[in-house]
Symmetry: C2
């Protein structure tokens, strides 16, 4: 393995996630960057490289955003990896510092889905998507298969939506801030049987930003540093996931790599933000991340283990289901939440004594690209 | 500075650059990747990470391209930096190896401008571009200013087009392969006074790929390794260039950083590929790269110094003006040419005894983003 330096996150910021068509993506993204810099105690002139993640932000988004806040004469890179765009940007920002090239970097993710006029997918050259094999359909098939193989119930899946909406009541940045009952989730509008609309994440706009620094210089800056213990990016083929539809080959591989890099195991994780674009996604990824045995996701929910106060709280922010999912921003927003949890800054949704946290963000799948990317990051107080 | 490993390019490949609307961007890009792997003696299973550069290729282009040639279960990243997209992908591929994260990486760039239906720019939110301040207009202003300040003549600028078209007669991958006379250049259709169409690069489609490896493992592979002595990425503000319209602040800064990183100076460069989207661009960048003093670009041309056989040959491939400029592919194609030159593989356009080469690729400028990116790479035999 490489002779890499330890890196810490020293500042975080994020916008409200919501449908906010009146704000440009540039304005939407500048505010959380300024918040993250302020939090870190880093002046714009101290940022040595910047990494922007977005799917639909267009050419040169990073430069456009940074220009307006006085950052221009540094390396700036724009990265895209579907729903993992923001977390891929974080990964390159981490490597910039870990390699010793630079000491302080900025990573941010941004998306304005309301600017797309009703949806980005499917692409015209995707035959399966044209026939209806869209994300909700894929996850619906996974849900049905998990129910058949393991006796998982629709009520167990619905409890994930109830939990995440409950959590985000205490997250002022979340798109939704109200409780939903089990009955409301089960009886909401059907999207792809058995998934009703409250089993699916909403569409919206948002941005999130973090400042990274070499741990060795962090004490000279204001922000309370949270160490990066693992940074893993993997791609894969969606069809490999369908050898066993209840298991994401890619997430299993990425998790194994992340735990190896961190020198930790799933039993060490105190809090996680997991890619819950659909309730069945969160449940499948419990298993991929080793929070329970394959097939036991339903029981984990019934036991309340992933609630705040449970054995392994998942998505205290509200997750994609309730905090929202402006795709390019999501991976960075997950990191904002975990860093805030490990700093003890989360108020009513704080996980008591959280010392080690994990973020899992996976992108792509169908509709124009049946391959996927997955990032997993592990953080320590 | 970081404790980075030395990296070499061990394989290269590129498509023909041309208008080729009948080929998909995926097909167009797979062939040069396979050529680069074959050249390197690297099997698809040995590639440990891949970096794709494109402006208009869409979400997940890297994954789409690689899936069809059997590369999927590795980190794959899509990068965008306007005309520097491909060279920015190379830069991250270099850092992946230099940092010790991985030993063998793949970088490629691709663009299909014929798919855009007549042009990508300007963007609707760019007021200046809407008023006509497009790339040809900007470079025309620069040409007029250089002529006024330094007595540079339109004939000197036209000689750059004559030289580059002469060079590409011997480049089977170039979009144009015919000689143009000085009169033809001067008398072709006016685009932005004083620049006629033959002062401007064409639009087209193309892809290029390179394989990188740690120099320490290169002897175990087939490809003749060419060392990377410097990899520099910088961004900047276009308005800074206009403090003195004849000087690109960004290219001057990037050149200084690249020479410092390489421990070399402009006098050490035996051959260069320079961003000649317009004839005046090549001339301005002679000066920024230190091939002559500021203002002396016209004399450098008159002396024949940048011709094949001259003191510092520039754009033996034909450059953007004649080889073509499918934007995302350009930065990687420049590297393909320099590596081929340093290997002595360029036949009739070979620079005798070339040992050290440089690539300069700069992107953006107007039309939606008045900031720019610039990459400079230095290579040694």
């Amino acid at each position: 393995m490489a002779n890499l330096r330890e890196v810490s996150v020293i500042g975080v910021g994020m916008s409200r996630f919501a449908k906010q068509p009146e704000i440009s993506i540039v304005d939407l993204t500048q505010a959380p960057i300024l918040d993250a810099l302020e939090d870190a105690g880093v002046a714009v002139g101290q940022v040595q490289a910047a990494y922007s993640g977005s799917v639909f932000g267009g050419s040169g988004l990073g430069q456009k955003v940074l220009k307006g806040i006085g950052i221009s004469s540094i390396p700036i890179l724009n990265l895209e990896n579907a729903c993992s765009s923001g977390s891929s940007a974080f990964r390159e920002a981490w490597l910039g510092v870990a390699s010793g090239m630079v000491d302080v970097t900025l990573a941010f993710g941004a998306e304005k889905l309301t600017a797309l006029g009703g949806g980005a997918f499917p692409l015209s050259d995707d035959i399966e998507a044209d026939q209806g094999v869209l994300m909700p359909a894929v996850y619906a098939m996974r849900a049905r298969r998990h129910m058949m193989e393991y006796g998982t119930t629709i009520e167990q899946l619905a409890k994930i939506a109830v939990k995440n909406h409950h959590n985000s009541v205490h997250n002022p940045r979340a798109q939704y801030q109200r409780e939903y009952t089990l009955e409301e989730v089960l009886n909401s509008r059907m999207i792809a049987d058995p998934l009703t609309i409250l089993h699916c994440c909403p569409s919206g706009d948002g941005a999130a930003a973090v400042v990274l620094a070499a741990t060795e210089i962090a004490p000279r800056l204001r922000g309370k540093p949270i160490k990066v213990r693992a940074s893993v990016l993997q791609s894969g083929l969606f069809k490999n996931d369908f050898r066993d539809m209840t298991k994401s080959d890619l997430s299993y591989r990425a998790a194994a790599a992340a735990y190896e890099m961190a020198g930790l195991g799933p039993e060490d994780i105190d809090v996680a933000e997991v890619h819950d674009a659909f309730t069945i996604g969160e449940l499948m990824y419990y298993e991929a991340l080793g929070f329970c045995a394959p097939g036991d996701g339903g029981r984990l929910i019934d036991d309340g283990a992933t609630e705040i106060g449970g054995r392994i709280p998942v998505n205290p922010s509200g997750g994609l289901l309730s905090k929202g999912h402006p795709v390019g921003a999501t991976g960075v927003a997950q990191i904002v939440e975990i860093v805030s949890q490990l700093r003890g800054n989360c108020g009513p949704r704080q996980i008591a004594g959280a010392r080690i946290g994990l973020t899992h963000c996976t992108g792509g799948g169908v509709a124009g690209f049946d391959h996927i990317a997955c990032t997993i990051h592990v953080f320590e107080q």
